[in-house]
């Protein structure tokens, strides 16, 4: 009971903890979501760096967190998305692999109908714009409701919905009628 109460108090904190050990505990429940976002947005050779950089950035910026303005999870995910974006920008343009290739490397099985379609989808996802890909990743792969995705993306929920709608339209066009 004591642990769960301490956990609840930590989750509800209006400010990020100021000592390293408590800060790590504050981040811990959101670590899997941060890892998912980093994996989806960064390449196979990059995502662990992105995750580590995200933790470091969150630690450095902990004084900026305001629980009244949003949840710890959304704040941490926004930092992770920003680190992933910076990671991509750091790469030389002609070496830039899009997320499709990264997704393919991440373990989609070659061969077979499912494998081929997964490749198609990964490639189509990789051709979305950066914000479309972020919206899709947050909503479908991290599992955030639209309102939370909007908090991460620093925009209105309607903007997320229209971005998702545009992304789905584009995916439909990319995948074609035969895709199942």
């Amino acid at each position: 009971v004591h642990n769960s109460l301490a956990r609840a108090a930590l989750d509800a904190a209006a400010a990020a903890p100021d000592d390293a050990a408590t800060f790590a505990e504050w981040v811990r429940p959101n670590w899997p979501a941060m890892a998912t976002l980093a994996r989806r947005l960064a390449g196979s050779g990059e995502w662990e760096d992105v995750l580590q950089d995200s933790f470091g950035a969150a630690w450095r910026k902990r004084g900026q967190f305001d629980g009244a303005r949003g949840s710890a999870r959304n704040w941490l995910l926004a930092i992770t998305a920003d680190q992933a974006r910076k990671s991509r920008r750091r790469r030389v343009p002609w070496l830039l692999r899009d997320a499709a290739e990264a997704s393919i490397e991440r373990g989609t099985e070659p061969g077979g109908e499912h494998g081929e379609h997964a490749l198609d989808l990964a490639a189509a996802l990789g051709r979305l714009t950066e914000r479309q890909r972020l919206a899709v990743t947050l909503h479908y792969y991290v599992g955030l409701p639209v309102a939370d995705a909007a908090e991460v993306m620093a925009c209105a929920p309607g903007t997320v919905k229209s971005t998702l709608s545009d992304a789905r339209s584009r995916l439909r066009a990319e995948l074609g009628e035969d895709y199942r």
């Binding site: 750091r90 989808l121 950066e130 899709v136 792969y141 903007t159 919905k161 066009a173 995948l175």
Partner: protein
């Protein structure tokens, strides 16, 4: 075809199940206190030099002009040619594509009267606007962005005649009362001009998600006047932004800009943000989704939160007239439209799961303004996958 929403959910479930556990937080936590490596400095310097060089070369590789072109386009094939009576009984909506379908729907019960026109398959952004002569002006932007076809569709024969193609994307298109000018928002530059080679051109720019350049295009000459109405990035406050012409065609109202609670009235002949008249919303409130009718400007008013609470009629001088309370649980997605004579308005509202007291299901509702009351024309359930599956674009 399986819906893309279902495909994404299935892929996410498969992908998540196949992922190993994330790295130990404890190890990373301790590592975060160590000084950061400098190995990326050279990399960053090299990348910066290359990006600067690439940016410098862009104008040499592309035409510097970003104004509307006058490329003629061929007429589209004839569609179903049933005779339609455009006698104040229908409104125009666009069923999202691709391809997009321009629909006529009954103003009494929302029922589909006719699928009037189908765009090309690669069209992802379309508006259909009723002109005073009864024709429907259709704008259709392609998947690759940076190009929009403007066509005039005969509502009787279904024939589409090319008006012109413009070399940019259009959003929030509105037709002048005389049918000769198109007001819309576009981006400061085309995505294809700014994105790295491995990122295909898209409808959105990676670094600038919202269009912010108000443009008035003369459909007869192809000339355009423009003004930047927000610094860019997240310039549009959700999906409630809108443009509407004054009934005399001399001004354009814009409402729903992020950080701008007022409605802005622009001179249609030469819009300038600095010279725009501001019609301020009450303290703590904001205006969006305008429809300028002969009796006043109807706007959605939001006082706190995201959802507008009512429609209000305001004058250009800011005097508030009639108010129409809106149902609860309205999410973003408020669109308003008038008929070409600007005598009536219809408003689309997206009802959704925004807020704990609202239903988890989504629906789009069309309401008609009948004097002092709002009459629901129809309510159509929607899922995420079908959000904005169609939208009212003109009355």
């Amino acid at each position: 075809m399986t819906d893309i929403d279902e495909i994404l959910r299935s892929d996410a479930a498969r992908w998540l199940a196949a992922q190993p556990a994330p790295p130990s937080l404890d190890a990373i936590s301790s590592a975060a206190t160590r000084p950061r490596g400098r190995g990326r400095v050279w990399f960053a310097v090299a990348a910066t030099v290359l990006v600067v060089a690439a940016i410098a070369l862009v104008p040499l590789l592309r035409s510097a002009s970003h104004h509307a072109s006058t490329t003629p386009i061929a007429a589209s094939p004839q569609h179903d040619s049933a005779v339609l009576a455009l006698d104040q009984t229908t409104f125009v909506a666009v069923h999202a594509g691709p391809p997009a379908t321009v629909q006529l729907r009954s103003l009494s019960n929302g029922q589909l009267v006719k699928n009037l026109y189908v765009t090309a398959k690669d069209v992802t952004a379309a508006y259909a606007l009723r002109a005073p002569d009864g024709s429907i002006v259709v704008t259709s932007g392609t998947l690759t962005g940076c190009s929009t076809r403007v066509e005039r569709v005969d509502p009787v024969t279904g024939l589409a005649t090319g008006v012109r193609t413009v070399a940019e994307s259009m959003r929030y298109a509105a037709l002048s009362p005389d049918g000769t000018k198109l007001a819309y928002l576009t981006w400061t530059s085309c995505a294809a001009q700014t994105t790295p080679p491995s990122v295909p051109a898209g409808l959105d720019q990676p670094s600038q998600s919202d269009p912010n350049v108000l443009t008035v295009l003369d459909l007869r000459t192809g000339s355009a006047v423009r003004t930047t109405i927000s610094p860019g990035a997240l310039g549009i406050a959700g999906a409630n932004f809108g443009l509407s012409w004054s009934p005399d065609g001399r001004r354009i109202v814009a409402a729903g800009l992020a950080g701008t609670p007022a409605a802005l009235l622009f001179d249609a002949a030469g819009p300038q943000l600095a010279g725009a008249t501001r019609v301020p919303a009450p303290p703590g409130c904001s205006y969006s989704a305008p429809a300028w009718t002969t009796s006043g400007i109807i706007v959605a008013q939001t006082c706190g939160g995201v959802s507008p609470q009512k429609l209000v009629e305001i004058s250009a001088a800011g005097v508030v007239g009639t108010a129409w309370p809106l149902p609860g649980c309205i999410d973003d997605g408020v669109l308003a439209a008038t008929d070409p004579q600007h005598t009536r308005a219809v408003v689309q509202l997206d009802l959704g799961d925004y807020g704990p007291s609202c239903s988890a299901s989504w629906a789009t509702r069309i309401v008609r303004i009948d004097g002092a009351t709002l009459t629901t024309v129809l309510t159509q359930p929607l899922g995420y996958a079908k959000f904005s599956s169609w939208a009212v674009t003109s009355g």
